[in-house]
């Protein structure tokens, strides 16, 4: 069968156009007003690339390709329709799928080509398969923890990092041997197996609070494994897509690690085992002031500037739609209401913004930490809903605190602080929050959703200013 000589250049050009569209796609994500064009560009690029590939010389079996594409679509649609609170685990799952694909292709290529593999190809193929396998199991673990199928608590033991590094070293040593002796086929499954195991062990010591960093890091690994696959297949399009994804994940993990005050090295090694020394539990009993919904409503109604600090607890209580009603009620009274978003609010980068946007809160009311922190001294009321550690002033002042140095929202500088909380139990990380004992802090005890609802009712009927 003779393919026309023009086919190859045509394919290359579709790949080139697809690469341009992929870059534009990310560029248009810079602003919400153009972001949806970005999705379109990505979709068109993807279709072009797949169409170009189908023209490729030597493809004889179209039926099975079509069947696989249809099956994948059937799985993909429900995964595209999950609830917004479930987006983090969906994302982790799709990192796993992506890495799964890369690992399978790498494995198939190895068995097709071995032992006729150049050293360089074998080296990148090993990198592809090691990164792919550990991202596959690591992402499944992360998805399991986020979905709460697996325990969220970090599991740690002495020498854990050493054991984990040992597994990685064994996988890399296997890869090294294969580079020198590409015919050693029996070594390949060992390398894959150890990498799969390493992926599991890597996530075991990581707690729920660290998930934003972990997901970003896995994103980066998935991209790098795809780029390695591009080297194996000599596909520039794959190298480009992988490099874009890898750098995106890398940037996000650096942002997340900074927001959690973790070092750069921690990010690279992924070894962020939780070092939470059980914060001294039995301290002297401190007093807090509490208030009712009626009192809270009166204070809010009299304010000029209100900043709401939402945390993941708000999403867990499904309170975001009630918060939207509160926003409406206060805005109608002429109160300036904004939302302060800490980078790690939520379970993945930017998650809180999505949850609030879903509740129909305009995005120009959502303000990042660095932009809002200077404004807390002029803020009449800071209302904390379901957030804890990101408001803890101990991070600024108490060098013995486990979260010392972590950038926080300077909520304590507002004139009045209100905190909606179920009780006085410490938060996710088990660290006491001195914010609650300040003279200007009012604790609003109760479920976030019903308490906000009560405030809205008071604003509507009760407190008629």
């Amino acid at each position: 069968m003779n393919t026309l000589p023009v086919t190859q250049p045509v394919i290359e050009i579709t790949y080139l156009v697809a690469s341009v569209l992929f870059i534009l796609s990310l560029k248009w994500m810079s602003s919400p007003s153009t972001a949806r064009h970005g999705v379109r560009a990505g979709e068109i690029g993807m279709l072009l690339a797949i169409a170009g590939t189908l023209l490729q010389h030597g493809i004889v079996d179209y039926k099975w390709i079509a069947i696989a594409l249809v099956l994948g679509t059937c799985i993909g649609i429900p995964l595209g329709l999950v609830q917004m609170t479930a987006v983090p685990q969906r994302t982790a799952l799709s990192h796993a799928f992506g890495a799964f694909c890369v690992t399978l292709v790498g494995t198939a290529e190895f068995y097709l080509r071995s032992p006729d593999i150049s050293r360089f190809t074998m080296a990148v193929l090993s990198a592809e398969v090691i990164l792919g396998s550990l991202t596959f199991t690591g992402s499944l673990m992360a998805a399991g923890k986020l979905q709460e199928i697996l325990p969220q608590r970090p599991l740690t033991y002495k020498g854990q990092n050493l054991v984990n590094l040992l597994f990685l070293a064994v996988a890399v040593a296997g890869a090294g041997y294969l580079v020198l002796h590409p015919g050693a086929r029996q070594l390949f499954p060992m390398m894959v197996g150890v990498s799969l195991l390493f992926g599991v062990l890597m996530i075991v010591p990581i707690g729920g609070a660290d998930m934003p960093t972990v997901i970003s890091l896995l994103n980066s690994y998935a991209g790098l494994s795809a780029a390695a696959m591009g080297f194996v297949l000599d596909s520039k399009l794959l190298i480009i897509a992988g490099a874009l994804d890898g750098s995106s994940g890398f940037i996000l993990s650096v942002i997340m690690s900074k927001a959690m005050n973790r070092s750069f090295g921690n990010v690279l090694f992924g070894a962020f085992g939780q070092v939470q020394a059980a914060a001294a539990a039995g301290q002297e009993a401190k007093t807090v002031r509490s208030a009712t919904a009626e009192e809270a409503a009166a204070i809010l109604a009299a304010a000029n500037k209100v900043v709401i600090i939402p945390g993941y607890g708000m999403a867990v209580a499904q309170a975001q739609h009630k918060v939207r009603e509160l926003y409406d009620a206060l805005s109608k009274r002429g109160v300036d209401v904004r939302f302060a978003i800490h980078p790690v609010a939520g379970r993945m980068p930017g998650h809180m913004n999505v949850l609030l946007a879903e509740a129909d809160i305009p995005y120009d009311r959502l303000v990042e930490m660095d932009d809002i922190n200077g404004e807390f001294p002029q803020t009449d009321v800071a209302l904390v809903i379901g957030a804890n550690d990101v408001t803890n002033p101990a991070a600024r002042t108490d060098s013995s605190s486990p979260i010392f140095g972590m950038p926080i929202l300077d909520v304590d500088k507002a004139r009045t602080v209100m905190v909606i909380k179920r009780g006085m139990s410490p938060g996710f990380a088990g660290i006491d929050n001195p914010l609650y004992y300040l003279g200007k802090t009012l604790m609003l005890f109760g479920d976030a959703k019903s308490f906000v609802n009560d405030i809205v009712h008071q604003l509507a009927g009760g407190g008629g200013h």
Partner: protein, 98 residues
């Protein structure tokens, strides 16, 4: 071979730089949709799997290729779908920009 390697490394280096510059400008507001979008784009790995299945060189490569196409396609479809759903929800309190 070595020229393909050098070409590949140049492409990787340039794409990584573009990636850094472009993604640094993405508003933190959109970091979640950014991640689901890059995830969908990353599923371009499907082209490698399509070639494996289409050439049908061995039973193993065929089976692994089929599974790989299914996994990657679900990422493409699901990734673009959820990204668009999320972006649809973002709207400004100012009706139109001047």
């Amino acid at each position: 071979m070595s020229s393909a390697l050098i070409n590949g490394l140049f492409v990787f280096m340039l794409a990584a730089f573009i990636g850094f510059e472009v993604i640094r400008r993405v508003s933190p507001l959109l970091h979640t949709p950014l991640m689901s979008l890059t995830n969908a784009l990353d599923a371009i790995a499907v082209v490698g799997a399509i070639v494996l299945v289409g050439r049908h060189e061995s039973r193993l490569s065929f089976v692994l290729g089929m599974l790989a196409i299914i996994a990657a396609t679900s990422n493409i479809v699901g990734g673009f779908l959820i990204t668009d759903r999320m972006l649809k929800m973002f709207h400004s309190s100012r009706p139109t920009k001047p």
